[in-house]
Symmetry: C2
Subunit: 414 residues, 2 copies
């Protein structure tokens, strides 16, 4: 489905497109000291999620991120750390509109003043709306190409009312006639550029809407397109929790169980596939990560390795180095759960293994891979066994869902 | 501070006040099959959080919850399960206004038709805005008493625009002149009652604003009061994650470390107090939960019991039964972390203890208490010891913050 989307986009967009992400806000409303675009969850600042969203769209050529002067170094570091390749960082102006204009200008002039191939369409999007989808960006882009300007709208969540100067209700607006103006917005480059060249100091200082500027100074009536609720803006601290939960939800949609060669392990893998399926997680079972199976390394965020042998942490090590070769954990933490299926006879002490496990996990964490262990006692009593499998399912789901760094290296008991 | 608030409220509110919570919504927008007011986090449905918010305000006498007919049993069960005592459940009408009117009527008539002491002021609030604060309810109530009506407003988050019938931008509203109308709203009983008696079928069917009805039918201009961002409405699935994170944040603000009589345990408790303080958690250290110290049982949501003896799960059991006596875990899950400080000499196997721990924790979970274990190895090497204490801090914080049921009964290694 992702590939199809790319193809549709690449066929229709036969002209250069760029994006400008104003990211100069101070984020007072989050109640945090860090501006919200730089707040981090799952080891990555919010703005990097938004950049990634644009970077993976093949028909968007470049992304200008506009930041406050004091954030330039931080932003360059983020671009470097997360290997963002389409990004140009420029510093902002004293207001939102001045910042956007700086971003727009950066698309047609190099710093030394020489000209660049300027884009046909510019998408303007908030750095703090990380979940915009490719097909919606396509709609905005195509409408901007045809109409000169296009903007996302959403139905009003609350009734809008006008207050008297004394703070009493004057009247309420009819909700159906009005919409909330959101981001992204798209513009023909020449239209937005001209609007900014023509607009007044007061527009630069107090204006809130690019759509309004192009209407006023270019006579361009923007096409309004209703967007999905995922366009919402991370504004408060609670929105960061919501964003984190959305990303965690996506990362825990599926897992890959590697069962090895043993028949018992393969059986357990099948049972786990079914029980985690009930909890809504799609689980693939494979015997190893070699050959064709290695594809999982670049498509899954979660690996459950089943082992019959307590001395087989080497499997985890191997998986770790394959993940590293695939640069898999660059953008999101990867989870590896090592399940030790303990046989009836095996009463080996695990103290040594525990220490090895903790060392391994501590090292992996530095590479953004979270390694957890679960020990499962084989039992001939059906009820005990079922209870163990149930616990294995619950613990695995929780570890994958929560991705808690504090619990790495533990050997949990199912 | 909480007590002070109550006192201020009780002094100013010398008249009867009731609340109506319309809770008949179908919650389509969450993308969940359960209406959002009945969605559960930390073992409790959202609506119970909202009810609790009103129930703990001493100057609010009764709370009418209006639900769809098909939710009556579910709602009664929630009232029963969480010991809500001020609540009257009535069934709603076919629209929001009809439901609110049903709720308002229920405040002046018993089901058998005989009269009740009707309240002077009625607060109307959405069941899906659980975090409204007492001082804001007081402001709304006092303004309603004086002006006849009062409503919460918030600044507009997005620019509001008018679209042409073809879907193009017509004009945008000047943001500063308009406000978003939110909940709670307060009314003199006689004013809201009269407005509903006088209003048209079309108002009942399509109207959105009680404020508008009292203006139109009673000539009452509502006083508008800007509320805090916490008034926001749980609308989407992501808002449930945000609400859960807010509650979890509140529950993990502080913890109580019970150190027992040993000097080593007391030292560890002090270190933990400091290190968890750095992470933002306020930690009290006490030696036991007896006498005056027992107050912690009714004020803390998290207990860390430090023990030198692996065979001392009885302390956990004792704490459990004290919590049960205090009905402590009725509204929120309580966390008990049992920390076993293992001496150098102690190389006892923990397998037996593990099983006992799991049994204990499984039983406690049924009573909404989450029991976790952490084993800490005393070391004479300063570096090893520091690393262990650091891990103890991280694990304890994560367990308290996440409250993951799947991990109860584990004996984690610090
Ligand atoms: Mg704008
Ligand atoms: Mg209303």
């Amino acid at each position: 489905a992702g590939l199809e989307k790319h193809i549709v986009g690449c066929c229709s967009v036969d002209f250069p497109v760029a994006a400008v992400l104003p990211a100069g806000g101070s984020g007072e409303r989050t109640g945090l000291s860090t501006p919200k675009q730089f707040c981090t969850f799952l080891n990555r600042p919010l703005i990097s999620y938004t950049i990634q969203t644009f970077e993976r769209v093949p028909w968007i050529q470049s992304i200008v991120v506009v930041v406050a002067k004091e954030s330039l170094d931080l932003m360059m570091d983020i671009v470097h750390r997360f290997h963002h390749t389409k990004v140009l960082v420029v510093h902002g102006g004293s207001t939102r509109h001045r910042s956007i204009f700086n971003g727009v200008c950066a698309l047609s002039k190099r710093e030394d003043g020489t000209a660049l191939v300027k884009p046909k369409v510019v998408i303007i999007h908030d750095a703090v709306r990380p979940f915009v989808e490719e097909d919606f960006l396509l709609k905005i882009t195509m409408a901007a190409k045809e109409q000169g300007a296009a903007g996302a709208i959403r139905p009003l969540v609350s009734t809008v009312i006008a207050a008297t100067s004394e703070g009493y209700l004057d009247h309420s607006l009819e909700r159906t006639k009005y919409k909330a103006s959101e981001m992204p917005q798209g513009f023909l480059y020449d239209v937005i550029y001209k609007a900014y060249l023509s607009c007044s100091e007061s527009d630069f200082e107090f204006g809130t809407e690019c759509l309004h500027l192009v209407l006023r100074y270019c006579g361009t009536n923007a096409k309004l397109i209703e967007g999905p609720p995922t366009l919402w803006k991370v504004t408060y601290k609670r929105d960061l929790a919501a964003a984190e939960s959305i990303v965690k939800g996506t990362l825990s949609e599926s897992a890959c169980v590697v069962a090895g060669g043993s028949k018992r392990a393969a059986e357990l893998a099948r049972v786990l596939q079914k029980s985690m399926g009930v909890l809504g997680m799609e689980v693939d079972v494979i015997s190893d990560l070699i050959g064709d199976n290695a594809k999982s390394l670049s498509s899954k965020w979660n690996f459950i390795l089943i082992s019959m042998n307590i001395h087989s942490l080497s499997e985890v090590e191997k998986t770790l180095s394959m993940l590293e070769d695939a640069d898999r954990a660059l953008l999101h933490p990867v989870v590896i759960i090592w399940v030790h299926l303990k046989s009836l006879e095996d009463d080996s002490s695990v103290n040594e293994e525990r220490a090895a496990m903790m060392d391994l996990a501590s090292g992996a964490k530095l590479r953004n891979v979270l390694v957890y262990g679960i020990q499962l006692h084989h039992s001939k009593e059906a009820q005990l066994w079922e209870r163990s499998v149930e616990r294995l399912t619950e613990i695995s789901s929780a570890l994958i869902r929560d991705r808690t760094p504090a619990l790495i290296g533990q050997l949990l008991q199912a």
